[in-house]
Symmetry: C2
Subunit: 800 residues, 2 copies
């Protein structure tokens, strides 16, 4: 038998292409005769356009068309609220192009199409726009106060949505508590900063009435649905292709963005292909942001540190629109209790409009904030009760025998109560402690302190609901001639390695090498029953769909081979690209032969023999070539729909040294223990975790989108907005636990976002520990830039 | 309930597009940066190239590449024998480009790719080719004689294949006969002359390794299979699209032709799209021909005219190669006994190589020749026994109670014995007699003769095995928002009206208007399990697959609607684009709503409400959004595989007047009685029959490809090769019989080729009848050009 591929460190099928520069992104598409677009964007946060003149822009040679909202006809509608929820009292979504009112700097006002991008940009600058500038308040806490300037005039206190969730009896819990700890924490606004910014190209075929859109999206099927309905075209007349995509991280889920409407619209209008690729400056003020939340969290505990209840009230900055509804806030609110038993929870949030770039999920999606809140609070509680930070967590863990563990009435994004499916939290913590060698670390820390060096240890335990439904599907087809398997799903990959992971799953079932499994995704013309790549759901939902399809393909191959070999299908083994009778390797056929013979047409030409196989003998020998209800060839489609989310978890720790002079933080060690159930490919898992930690490092140390009092983003470039380079990311020690999920056949859980979630708290906790001898106040927000450290030291009246 | 669409004269969905010039043929494709090809072709029939110099061609500005066989690498192989058969002793197929030897005028020797067609053609003419010219014999009868020049040196007597088939005991039948009649008949070579000649365009995507080929083919799936194996590409990496195709008629089934290899090859080699469209001159010497057969047929009969046995020995001219094997000859041999009981049959044929364009099936495929042979013989037998031509046929018909009627050991193209499934031959003849009013015609004829006018009545009865397997499939998908149904099959249409016929079948099941059923075919990227459009099989095989799929779609819609309406699926009716509970039209939902709600994602944006439906409520209300084994949406694929051929039939008659001075023939009446089982759309059936008759008129009157003694085609243009115009085709009186086929759910039989089959005999029979008072010899060949009539008159020593 072949070696099992599931669980192996299989080299990635996509790497050869991507590493050698043969990736194909939207900007690489060779669209002959393509025109180029550029947007004119609002220069003010909240304003009313008093004068909009495109005359000069239209007059520029090489300009084909300048569109304002008035030109969009039926498309001049606000975009759909993607995820409605009854708690959204005042849903507001954007127009493709602004009407009189603008709501954030960077909002699209006009779209120019020209012979090249240079002309388009020049023309966009020639558009005259005058505004009445309206007052703004960019801080969500102030924006929610009475009298604050309103983003949308008819939305009181800028409150878009308000939700209260109660699980258990929090009042009783707080009444019974020996101790209550309260803190307020804040996480700041960031951006996903993908390598590739947004991108759209479109071609309209006037003859066939077909619209093809290439889009750097995480959700081609969703975008196809949106375009199909917005353009009043049948689904089959709209094809959306996500070619290689240079990072997604959430903001590339369908919004739809102005470009996703305008580029196809212009292509249809002008009967020419049109392309637009966002530049980095635009990306900062156009692609959605995430993160700003302000949590007021309280824990009610016994004197032993057992948490009886949790109250969390938070503000969520949703920016100027709320296209995703309460997604981010809802996720934060449902993950606020972390891995802890906490039987009574009261969580409430307000989503607050601010005149800034709209907020939608970004890797972690509310979890980094929730994790920061609960874990900061746990640290505080530990400190107040004089209990070790590790120990207090251990005392509150849900134990393995308590799974499935439900938090009644805390409703997750799938509409179902939070139900954690499995976990060994205590084991994970123990593994972390062992890896860290806590005694040695404490000794090192004392030694350092004696030398005046500020060494600190931080940790964070997180859980993550992953693998949301409703479903994904997979199609597998075995090819004649080569015997290779083609796999299609409704997803798209932005670096996650689907081409390898799915190949491993299929390879195990049908006995081929992973490199002989070709994965094609991200094309609604190939497969279009599915959702999208987000919410750490691909491996769980698509992976299991691929598995179920592979099992089905295996059964069909075995049956076909059994017919050919005159054997019992139960006796057929598949390995090394062949099907053979168990116990013998000589009585076998290749999968290529199986694929060929399973189609009664047998249209595959045999080049060696230079003949095509005639179908007639089949008819003669078996009667009808294809009996009623049977299908030709080896081709199967199957679907997987999870019963509810599956919960991954992990615990990270860092040993840091803070330089009180430069305020620099040196991460000396970074240890991850994580458990995403059974791993398809540990190498890919490690890549995901490491990438997540790196992105988390950005949030912990550097990344803060800074709006000024006029609502202008001050650091809208990589000159001013810092992201970690490889040099800033420490070596990450990884420890895998594999506690299978009982919810799906492969026993897997999602891991895409995991690494990002705990990093803010890990660093905050470590810095707090490092600086504690100096009497600095607790760390209550990230990022911890040098100036933030400086502030902490200053507050402690340390002479810096 | 909606009106039943099956059987109605529904206006064709495709007509608006095609009639207003919005058809899209290969030459219409807007392939930017496309290069153009031209072939250098052999000027001699049989020769050996002594000198081939492409230097001057390559040097011409604008030329990108000139290919000869030596440049083709792995593709420099002979093309597959598409339909092997053990009787083919000497299968010979062509190279994409000739090696040293050339085998017919027009054989491709080199392929030029240049900036435009003009340059390519100029360059092709600059290629220097010298030949040693070898002796030829283009007449198949002489070519089969000892000592005749050989087309392929190692094929004795030029005999490619020899088959003997015996059904019953012919020797005993002939021994027992009162009377034996013997005749020799000949049908000449013709060409299908489609409006659009052959055409291929190709684009190679070097990044994805995908080859897209647009080809005016009847068999995109077959061509995809050929290209996939020839180019060593996975099937999923080759997409073949047959856009609108301007007539097929058989020669556009996959061969593959040189262009179908060279155009993709050059596109891949040059990394540029390449296009080639055959011009009419090339079409005459490149696209395959059909028809030349010489039959020696004998009938053994009782004195009452009951035929006891049949012997037929015929030569089939296969041209220079035999890519389709014995297809044409086999069809002729199995249909030689027509509608007659004839219990003993001995049929044998030789397929003879001649240094001419290869022969493959052309509308009728051997049947016109077989029909000409048996029906001429029946006329002769009637004359010799003094029995009326109608009466002698009636005496030999298989009667309705004899079906299914098998001719043992006469093996049809599906590998199964000829088994006629149903028919009312006597009713058909009676219907013809009634329509003609034979007494009146006889009176008119006598009157005319008295006036010196030569009036004659001819008739021909034919049967046609149609609807060959192995199978076809159909996919139906119901679209959200519009509720329209998309139908995909593996076929392609060249004017047959599939977009309407399939729509009618689907409309009946799911209760929508035919115009709301969108049929997309001819694209392996859309649906690629199937065979092709040929052999009058589309309606039977695909039509029934569409029906089965529509029944399946109906069941899914009813179930989904029942869930929505909280009703029993058995109580759901579908009509007018809605599903409702029987007995009420108010309790209903639109099919668009059914389509939307049957996908648990419900990704369809509701533009009116400007929201997307959330999936969460589904999960909440029903548990898993997609239960195990269920599929999202309304999408079904089903297949139909016929048990064996189904036999259509008909009888045509014509009243003609021959002008013995001008030798012109005036067709005064033309009556068709035909029975293709249940008709999907009588208007389309009539179009098919009328078109077939028109094409048959060409064969009867005009069309004869005339090779000179050097193997040069003398009439390779529409100046010299005449096809009937609308002015030459008489009004056709049509009478429909509908005897359902018991073999398939819709009870249908094929009709695509029917009209063509009997026309030669009808005209020959009528002319013979018209001229009989003059003592002309029997008519033994078609076409009956004026000079052929002149010959007949001359042989009768009529002073002309």
């Amino acid at each position: 038998m072949s070696t099992r591929q599931f669980g192996a460190r299989v080299q990635r099928n996509e790497d050869a292409r991507l590493i050698t520069g043969r990736g194909r992104f939207v900007d690489d598409l060779p669209l002959d005769g393509v025109l180029h677009g550029a947007f004119a964007r609002s220069a003010v946060a909240r304003g009313r356009i008093t004068h909009l003149d495109t005359t000069a822009a239209r007059a520029l040679p090489g300009v084909h068309r300048v569109y304002t909202h008035a030109d969009l006809g039926e498309l001049d509608v606000t975009m759909p609220l993607l995820i409605p929820h009854p708690c959204i009292g005042h849903p507001r979504t954007q127009y493709p192009l602004a009407h009189e009112d603008v709501y954030h700097v960077g909002q699209a006002i006009a779209f120019v199409v020209a012979d090249d991008r240079y002309i388009a940009e020049d023309a966009a600058r020639l558009i005259e726009i005058d505004y009445d500038i309206l007052p703004v308040e960019v801080d969500p806490a102030k924006a929610a106060l009475d009298g604050a300037p309103l983003v949308h005039e008819d939305v009181p206190n800028n409150i878009a949505a308000h939700l209260v969730q109660v699980s258990g009896d929090p009042d009783a819990a707080f009444a019974a508590a020996d101790h209550v700890t309260r803190i307020q924490v804040r996480v700041d606004r960031s951006t996903a900063a993908p390598m590739e910014c947004l991108s759209t190209a479109a071609r309209w075929d006037a003859v066939s009435g077909e619209l093809t859109v290439w889009d750097g999206t995480q959700a081609p099927i969703g975008l196809r649905g949106a375009l199909s309905s917005l353009f009043d075209l049948d689904e089959d007349k709209v094809r959306v292709v996500a070619p290689d995509v240079g990072g997604g991280f959430g903001p590339k889920i369908v919004f739809p963005y102005s470009n996703e409407i305008l580029v196809p619209f212009a292509a249809k209008d002008l009967r020419r292909p049109v392309k637009w690729v966002e530049d980095r400056s635009e990306n900062f003020v156009h692609m959605t942001h995430e993160r700003t939340q302000i949590h007021d969290i309280e824990l009610a505990a016994t004197s032993d540190g057992v948490v009886l209840g949790l109250r969390d009230t938070f503000l969520h900055d949703t920016g100027s629109f709320i296209p995703y509804g309460i997604a981010v806030a809802q996720v934060a609110s449902t993950q606020i209790a972390g891995p802890y038993r906490i039987p009574a929870i009261h969580v409430t949030f307000d989503c607050v409009y601010t005149p800034t770039v709209p907020v939608t999920p970004y890797r972690g999606c509310g979890r980094p904030q929730a994790n920061f809140a609960i874990e900061r609070a746990m640290d505080q509680l530990a400190a107040e009760l004089g209990i070790d930070r590790f120990e207090i967590r251990r005392r509150n863990f849900i134990t393995p025998d308590e799974f499935p563990y439900t938090r009644p009435d805390l409703v997750f994004a799938d509409g179902l109560p939070v139900t954690l499916d499995s976990g060994r939290y205590d084991d994970a913590l123990a593994a972390l402690e062992k890896a860290l060698d806590l005694d040695a670390i404490r000794a090192e820390q004392e030694q350092a302190r004696a030398e005046g060096r500020m060494l600190g240890l931080g940790l964070s335990f997180y859980v993550e609901g992953t693998g949301l439904g409703p479903y994904e599907g997979a199609k597998i087809r075995l090819h004649p001639i080569t015997g290779k398997a083609y796999v299609n799903t409704g997803l798209t990959a932005q670096g996650q390695g689907h081409e390898t992971a799915w190949a491993q799953i299929v390879a195990d079932q049908i006995g081929v090498r992973p490199e002989d499994v070709i994965v094609v995704e991200g094309d609604t013309g190939v497969f279009d029953w599915g959702v999208a790549t987000f919410a750490s759901r691909a491996a769980v939902v698509s992976g299991n769909a691929v598995h179920i399809a592979a099992v089905s393909a295996r059964a069909r191959i075995a049956q076909a081979a059994a017919n050919m070999l005159e054997a019992d299908p139960d006796d057929i083994e598949l390995a090394d690209g062949r099907a053979f009778v168990r116990g013998t390797t000589s009585r076998g056929v290749t999968l290529a032969e199986v694929a060929t013979m399973s189609n009664p047409l047998r249209y595959a030409f045999n080049k060696a023999a230079q003949t095509a196989t005639q179908f007639a003998p089949t008819a003669r020998s078996t009667g009808k070539p294809l009996p009623d209800g049977e299908r030709p060839g080896i081709e199967v489609s199957e679907y997987y729909s999870p019963p509810h989310a599956t919960w991954a978890y992990g615990v990270h720790a860092a040993l840091v040294e803070v330089d009180p002079v430069t305020c620099d933080i040196d991460v000396k060690r970074y240890v991850c223990v994580h458990d995403c159930g059974n791993m398809i490919n540990p190498m890919i898992v490690e890549g995901q975790v490491a990438g997540g930690v790196a992105q988390g490092m950005g949030g912990a140390f550097y990344e803060k989108l800074e709006y000024d009092e006029n609502g202008v983003l001050r650091n809208a470039s990589f000159m001013d907005f810092l992201v970690p380079y490889a040099t800033e990311v420490p070596h990450i020690e990884m420890i895998h636990l594999e506690t299978p999920s009982p919810l799906n056949p492969l026993g897997i859980k999602g891991v895409g976002e995991a690494g990002t979630i705990p990093v803010g708290q890990v660093i905050a906790s470590a810095v707090e520990d490092a600086l504690s001898p100096l009497g600095t106040p607790p760390v209550r927000q990230v990022p911890l830039s040098p100036s933030a450290i400086h502030d902490l030291l200053r507050q402690a009246r340390v002479n810096v």
